[in-house]
Symmetry: C3
Subunit: 273 residues, 3 copies
């Protein structure tokens, strides 16, 4: 199943529109190419509707949110909804400022997202208005562990029901769920948190997977998450002792580029609950 | 000849002003350094004329075009024209939105470009108002092949006559021409299309080559195109089987950094027609 | 001492707020992660005060200065001053345009910087209003050598007294000083000038070091400078003959990631005067 989902992205070559931050945008472009999709970045209000119309999916990432592009996000999101495109939200740092929190509220009101991807702190900020977000990384007290995993899954399922979107929560353990069912995924490597933008890259790869696999959105999202985590594992194994986080970034994207569907099936670590 | 053109860039160390997109800007800066030039990025209307005045050439790239910088492009372009600097346009995605198309029309009216570099879809959008552009990559139906190459060359020559600029069209086969003469270049590797920004990087490297070699602009542009293609070939040969598109990006820039003029002469694959 | 300073950054994991340019921002994020800190980039006037409040330090870099973010810089800087956070200024290209020069004057008036980091041309533009800046790199006539080093140190000390900030001047030889004392540092490698953003990366790493080591700010700044220079040396030694400036960039950040405190002590080349 994972194998077929991965293959589909390479066959369809979905063109993904990104309204995203200027920090990790280049890696987002290259990871889309790596997985078989194509990127286009466009954020001016004068063209976002037209650009999103020629694409198959849209990623909205608020990493370096600014007034100029909020309206662009809304216009592109609404247009994508009209065209039945997949739209993914990465609410980077929501809860860290009123500006981010209010903007995400507005986006959630104006746009029907297909999926929403964040860390636990961001999920909490969205789902229960918690303000534990202390930046773009999850608050250390929000770590997903064996002991709180069921609680986080329930929170995610509830928020999925409320938002009508697939919820993806990434951390030491990853959760991909709709209102009824959750993938609990254990692929990944702790060093991924030392690479800027692994979350952003995953978000736009989820858009590509959803766009190419619209018939099983939960599986599509879960496959992208497993793929990213496995790439992190395999890339770590290739890292020599004197290499560090920047080479690691390159190798993660390289692994996505070379990923074999059979390896993905074999090394996937998940259960459904 | 190619060797001398390459050497000249390293001797002159031209400072190149870039008003470009935020996706591939870092790679553009580093490829300029790799080839012996220096980058400066500045896009605020309050300083572009002054900045371009201390530079030798200007690259205008509309990859993430926005209202704020159009006027900056025009001011910098006009100033560069007054100073007789080389000015290169990369009309990324022209034809994909009215905003891009209208802006490029405006830029062509206000600025005399030394060279214009795009893919076939972008050339068609510019030269005949075709709207086959489906993003930032060439439409698959616009692929340059042995059977349509003469037709594309003629189109490029006509557009060169009209725009009074050297026209560079890149794809599986590359064309560099003025109204009378064309270099048909076959260096390059298909995997280059899996790296975000190879087109942008080439555009600003063309600016550097034109700036350092103002006496033979066609040769200068062709040398930059051959150099980029050859770097793609050599980098591909160095790629191990588990490396992918991000390592490939690094190796391409590395090859530019290390390029030997004799190797460039020997491995160049082009004819003039 | 250097060892302890380096260790402290990894223990404290300071969250650093960056208002910076879009050229080298990704490398700045990754070098912060490499040295044990965390990055957040946020530049909208609506959130900069809140964001800087959850951080430990702030880096202001004017590399791609634009009207939209000047007020954000001032608001974030003032808030940081109120909270007694470390604030570092990288006045990229000051002297190259009136816009940059006037903005830096304004920033210096409105914000008390903890440290200011630039090249010699930028220092001269700030300290004596010289206009030798010819871009983002130091003017070649401004090279620090054995024969002019005392003169530059005196200039830096005077400017430190005037600005009440630690002054860091980097080039072939680096200077880190307050009004009374200067570290003269000889770590580094000439090839670092072929990597876009080594200066920007160092600036934000200085912020991280200051934030984690507030009790000896001069030592903290000097340690960051030595670390960057040593990383450049060690990375150069790992470079194979066919690798160039982009692999070098990756290896420099990798070396920061892996730096051992004992090696840093052993290989540091500095004297205090």
């Amino acid at each position: 199943m994972l194998k077929k989902t991965l293959k589909k992205v390479k066959e369809v070559c979905p063109l993904i529109h990104n309204i995203t931050n200027y920090v990790t945008v280049n890696d987002c472009a290259n990871i889309l190419l790596a997985c078989g999709a194509s990127p286009i970045m466009a954020d001016d209000i004068a063209e976002v509707e037209e650009i999103t119309s020629i694409c198959g999916g849209l990623t909205i990432n608020i990493g370096t949110l600014n007034e100029r592009t909020i309206e662009s996000m809304i216009l592109a999101g609404r247009k994508s909804n009209l065209l039945n495109h997949s739209v993914v939200l990465d609410p980077v740092g929501v809860g860290a400022s009123k500006f981010r929190t209010n903007t995400v509220e507005k986006l959630l009101k104006e746009i029907q997202f297909t999926a929403i991807h964040g860390n636990v702190s961001e999920l909490k900020a969205l789902a229960i208005g918690s303000s534990s977000t202390t930046g773009v990384d999850a608050n250390i007290n929000d770590k997903i562990t064996q002991s709180n995993i069921q609680e986080v899954v329930q929170l995610a399922k509830n928020f999925s029901k409320e938002s009508q979107a697939i919820i993806i929560v990434t951390g030491a353990i990853d959760i991909v769920c709709d209102a009824n069912q959750a993938y609990i995924i254990k692929n990944g490597h702790p060093m991924m948190s030392k690479v800027s933008g692994t979350g952003c890259m995953l978000s736009t790869m989820i858009t590509a997977y959803l766009t190419a696999n619209p018939d099983d959105k939960l599986l599509a999202s879960a496959t992208a998450v497993i793929l990213m985590g496995l790439a992190g594992e395999l890339a770590f194994n290739r890292l020599s002792e004197y290499e560090g986080n920047l080479t690691y970034r390159d190798l993660i994207i390289d692994e996505i580029y070379n990923m074999d569907g059979n390896i993905l099936e074999q090394k996937a670590k998940y259960k459904i609950c």
